[in-house]
């Protein structure tokens, strides 16, 4: 759709502006934050960031899928998927609602 795309570089720049560490260190820290989150999720833990949202790992069981092109049945192996649930604060901010209610 419309709109820009924000990347790691933009997040690092904000950390640099807000906190006043060097640009290098700011970008390292952004990386470390993501890294710690990935590590926790890989351990199967959920990650809950108050007023932002939570990331939960869900186990999906094996099921029979179908190749939509050929109609052939293929087993879909059990796998893990990540689910993000936005907090009410974030949902409200996205809909332009001020002074959001219950934080999670």
């Amino acid at each position: 759709m419309e709109g820009r795309s924000i990347t790691r570089a933009d997040l690092s720049e904000s950390v640099f502006q807000e906190v006043g560490l060097s640009r290098n260190e700011s970008s390292d820290l952004v990386e470390v934050i993501l890294d710690e989150m990935v590590e926790a999720l890989a351990r199967g833990e959920s990650v809950k960031i108050s007023s932002f949202g939570s990331f939960t790992v869900r186990d999906k069981g094996e099921r029979i899928g179908r190749n939509p092109k050929t109609g052939q049945e293929v087993p879909i192996l059990p796998r893990r998927v990540l689910v993000f649930r936005a907090s009410n604060v974030l949902k409200n901010a996205i809909n332009g609602v001020e002074g959001s209610s219950d934080d999670e």
Partner: protein, 106 residues
């Protein structure tokens, strides 16, 4: 892991930083992502995932108790798509655990 646990881990990995600064760093990162989404922008973090905003069309819903029709306005909802590297990481660990469990049953 909660936000405060994340902050504690970050502080442990960066002993030269003040706790106060670590809190601000973590706060800034999530705040920027929220701000971008509120502005309708997309946030793309390669290897981790991408946050975007989807629009739900207005619809007529029903009050499940009374059956009365109610107009539901269009709204925007945040959406997260897991990045490939993270998805692979989750599954590598899961496969390893499954294999270990299978080995134990033998």
């Amino acid at each position: 892991m909660t936000k405060s646990e994340l902050i504690a881990r970050l502080a442990a990995r960066n002993p030269h930083l003040y706790q106060r600064d670590v809190e601000r760093i973590v706060g800034t990162v999530f705040n920027e992502i929220s701000k971008a989404l509120a502005a309708g922008d997309r946030v793309e973090l390669r290897g981790f995932g991408a946050f975007s905003v989807k629009t739900r069309e207005p619809r007529t819903g029903r009050n499940p108790r009374t059956g009365a029709q109610v107009a539901v306005a269009s709204k925007r909802v945040p959406y997260f798509k897991t990045g490939k590297d993270l998805r692979d990481r989750l599954n590598k660990e899961a496969q390893r655990a499954a294999l270990a469990a299978a080995a134990q049953r033998k």
